[in-house]
Symmetry: C2
Subunit: 430 residues, 2 copies
């Protein structure tokens, strides 16, 4: 890899998600040479992926070119590449475009889907972890309505328009709500000749309640909102198998569905080279209070890919964007202090609360000192998400889209740019 | 295909381009049942595809959902399907979702690339006729800059950053200008560590001048604009072969380039079933003054797919969006008249002029009575294109993007959502 040598110690950051971007913003490159590696040339704002999938936003609104965030930052290099291996002992990162040595390494590779080793689900379910996933899902959903028009067989039409979402965390709940609004407001206008009574949205959750990471109060409210929109909720239910359009569950209930969307679990993901003794629960790399991999002086992990094991956080921290962001901020400032030989304290997480939106005027927000629901929570959810988006242009475009949809009940983006292809049809493309 | 039978005569329109959309808008469905077939669920505004390719606009700004244009239009059905065959004698259209009979047929399938039977070019060149083409091209262009960072071999870097555009019609000229502006304004900021001196934009044209369909005055001006932006122009030059990154031309000049963009020729395209005696120059279906296929009473062709052969237009008409739009308008109104047993006159083309933009403040416009160049022409070009876009939301988003870029020299859309794949890597996807 052609990165010029410099007298400054080289920091390699793998991954430009919430944590990586925060490091790029805050690391003092008077003291370090910064090299950022990512397999995409853009940062993805994952909390709004579900709106791309449900045809409410276009990818460019929630993706931001990494190079643009690095502009005018000196001693900083971005390379578009897949990291193949990390040699922690030799301090070398091996990539598809060559090897590169580091003085300090920060692994910020995030999380991927966790299918809990269920191969039938892994094979047939649709994930929603990346922009491409979300676009595939959109093509599949819209394509299925087009297909449903071509059959008079009611059970076939039901399969095509029965959407099963597994996992009622924020992602599952938000997608279920968005699909319900598509069904209620948009599809009847677009498909006047399709009987939408066959369309179902089934939300399956292993826990006894939706949004189980939030309070019971929020949970009950979100449940009520979902019911109002027409989402069928199946709590205490585990999905056991999904093949031939048949979803089998732990309760014996069987769903016939052509579209199973997986929002039930995530696991840390990182390149080869990490010894399994260094990996803990949820496939995450175990780090100490300082985000450092135990036994190494110069290798750190932040965000969803790390599992803090310390006295303060014996259970680790949740896999959330806000944790990743704070860890990225912490680690870059810690490095800045180290460069000036200042003392560095351990990472402390500042929990600012959680939120989820179900639909128009329907959201639940939990802050440290209060819980809010309904229209005001929905407004808060929108304002906070707009603020969190990277780039003024993105904020403006999303704001226009949302305002537009608010007054028109009518998002304009129901495009199938690339038709959905079954995995078996595609060779050579992941 | 499940289209309900009705007492009204059924009009099938194949293709929802400029002509098809115009028919959908104007055909009186009190008198006809209208069935529109297209392989995409959206209409593409082709004149701005080059801005998608050069990362200035996103696809959703120039694509518009067909179903949305048909809303609240009675007796109207859209089906997403590929037409496989037309049986003109039996009045049946055969599609991937079944057969459908018609009372009147309008073929509005447009044009595709014409590689003039040169297989090496067809195999290796990149076209720009669809949204997917434009996105592939963008991924390729941006990806090549990322790749160029990884090599110290100057000739390899030159190949990666040498863009050869074949054809200096409006599409070729506009794309060349857009790439030049990328080079001059955007890439130096995004790739501070890449030496852009190797980047070249070569525009090759068989005719003696660029924009040869316009006046010599406009041609000279456009040539000057292109030169100012740093585009190399090669007129009187035919591309003979393109393989192994080597472009061979009729003048003996050889270019080494990883990216050859084909904007040199189009040919009509339509489903099987049309007898070759019915096909004329540019692979277009021969029609009379009334857009009717000779020898058939109920089969019409409009837009790029038709070649008018009549006393009035012995040379046919140019393959332009404005012709297609007018023909679509003509034919739907002709049908409306026929339904009321009124007399129908022949199609008469109203030439409103042509235009092309090269870059910021650099455009050429030819109206019937005057020629305009420079900033005012550029402004006109923008206003007219904004007005021609379908949908208020699209106009607004494009307007914001253009205004933004005008003041910031900085479009925010340099995303490689799906990496470019060589054809040989891809099986099962066209």
């Amino acid at each position: 890899m052609n990165i010029p040598n410099s007298d400054l110690p080289r920091v390699i950051v793998i991954g430009a998600g919430f944590a990586g971007l925060e490091i790029a913003k805050n690391l003092n490159t008077d003291h370090y040479q910064l090299v950022i590696l990512d397999k995409n040339n853009f940062h993805t704002f994952q909390p709004l992926l579900y709106q791309v999938a449900s045809a409410g936003l276009e990818p460019d609104s929630i993706a931001y070119p990494i190079r643009k965030t690095l502009r005018s930052k000196k001693n900083t290099f971005f390379r578009l590449t897949e990291v193949e291996n990390i040699d922690l002992k030799q301090s070398i990162v091996q990539t598809s475009i060559g090897d590169i040595s580091y003085d300090k390494l920060i692994i910020a590779t995030g999380a991927t889907n966790n299918f809990f080793n269920n191969h039938s689900i892994e094979e047939n379910a649709l994930p929603m972890k990346s922009v491409v996933d979300a676009l595939n899902l959109r093509s599949k959903i819209l394509g299925n309505f087009e297909k449903a028009l071509n059959t008079m067989d009611l059970s076939e039409r039901e399969e095509l328009t029965n959407f099963v979402i597994v996992g009622a965390g924020p992602t599952g709940v938000e997608l279920a709500g968005a699909l319900a609004e598509l069904k209620n407001k948009i599809l009847p206008k677009d498909f006047p000749d399709l009987d939408l009574r066959t369309m179902q949205i089934n939300l399956i959750e292993a826990a006894p309640r939706v949004l189980s990471a939030m309070s019971e109060e929020s949970s009950i409210k979100a449940h009520k909102y979902l019911k109002e929109l027409g989402v069928q909720i199946w709590t205490d239910t585990l999905v056991k198998d999904y093949s031939n359009n048949t979803v089998e569950t732990s309760t014996g209930t069987v769903f016939k569905s052509d579209t199973l969307i997986w929002a039930a679990g995530v696991a840390g993901t990182f390149p080869n080279g990490i010894h399994e003794s260094e990996v803990g629960r949820g496939n995450r790399i175990i780090v100490d209070d300082f985000s450092k991999i135990k036994g190494y002086d110069n290798a750190y992990v932040v965000g969803d890919a790390c599992l803090i094991q310390s006295e303060q956080y014996p259970q680790g921290l949740p896999m959330l964007g806000s944790v990743a962001k704070q860890q990225g901020n912490y680690i870059s400032k810690a490095f800045n202090k180290m460069a000036k030989k200042k003392k560095v304290g351990p990472f402390i997480y500042n929990d600012q609360g959680t939120m989820a939106t179900v639909g128009r005027n329907k959201a639940v927000v939990e802050l440290t000192k209060m819980k809010i629901q309904g229209s005001f929570a929905w407004l808060m959810w929108m304002v906070i998400h707009l603020m969190l988006l990277v780039g003024f242009r993105n904020r403006l475009v999303v704001f226009i889209n949302w305002t537009w949809n608010y007054f028109n009940y009518n998002n304009g983006l129901r495009l199938i740019i690339r038709p959905f292809k079954e995995k078996k049809d595609v060779v050579g493309i992941k």
